[in-house]
């Protein structure tokens, strides 16, 4: 997904029963193009990408245990939550929302831990 960007990171690492996923941003999973947009549009892409990474490793969104949701500005907290609920409607993982500067002017980044 971000393989062509030269970022010194793996998409995810499996260790025992856990999967540690690198921060996922809104990159087109086919073309690798950056899809910068609104918090809402980026969050949809991010969740689709996160789902791809999790399923490639034999787990799923339902098996997430912790998410560090990063947004570029705290004022977008509710915008993030609206998308978040669509992908994690039942028994959502533990979460902390951090308002930080994200690489390449992205507005959303999700870093996650799942169980296999």
């Amino acid at each position: 997904m971000a393989a062509g960007y030269g970022w010194a990171q793996s998409a995810a690492i499996r260790a025992g029963n856990y999967l540690f996923v690198s921060g996922v941003v809104a990159i087109d999973s086919e073309s690798g193009e950056r899809l910068n947009g609104t918090v809402t549009s980026e969050a949809h892409v991010v969740f689709r990408n996160l789902k791809l990474v999790l399923e490639s490793a034999g787990t799923s969104l339902e098996r997430l245990v912790h998410v560090r949701a990063m947004i570029y500005d705290r004022i977008e907290y509710d915008a993030l939550n609206r998308v978040y609920r669509q992908y994690l409607p039942e028994g959502p993982p533990a979460r902390t929302v951090w308002s930080v500067q994200i690489i390449d002017a992205f507005k959303v980044q999700l870093d996650a831990i799942a169980v296999i």
Partner: protein, 133 residues
């Protein structure tokens, strides 16, 4: 055999902030040997309202609530392995740290502290990973 994934909740319902405010996260998840807690704020255990004050006050209330949540799940502060502290201003580090030491007098967990934007005028938020049981 997949590892069990179980939601954990505080025994005191007033401290179940994500449910009370209908936020899309759980208080914590137990998975395998670990418990993952969501970021916690200073909340009054009697009323469920946010309890704003000095960094010292908010740190004490937040860690006290964290202890309650971990103990509700059969764990404890002594079983915390990693803790992240989010502060509204790093100038307040020492005010947080002094109270933190009261809760973790010996062999404290690994910790990272960052200065970040927080919600609703709160001064501190704390999340952790602990050993279950």
């Amino acid at each position: 055999m997949p590892v069990a994934r179980e939601i954990i909740t505080p025994k005191n319902d007033k401290l179940n902030v994500s449910r009370n405010l209908r936020l899309p996260h759980s208080p914590g998840i137990r998975a395998g040997d670990l418990i993952f807690l969501s970021g916690m704020l200073s909340v009054d255990p009697l009323t469920g309202e946010r309890s704003q004050g000095t960094v010292a006050h908010e740190t004490r209330q937040t860690l006290s609530n964290m202890r309650h949540l971990l103990e509700s799940a059969g764990s404890s502060l002594e079983r915390v392995v990693k803790i992240n502290v989010l502060l509204y201003d790093m100038l307040e580090f020492d005010n947080m740290n002094a109270v933190f030491r009261e809760f973790f007098p010996a062999a404290p967990p690994a910790r990272t502290t960052c200065g970040v934007q927080l919600s609703a005028g709160m001064k501190i938020e704390i999340e952790c990973i602990a050993l279950a049981g």
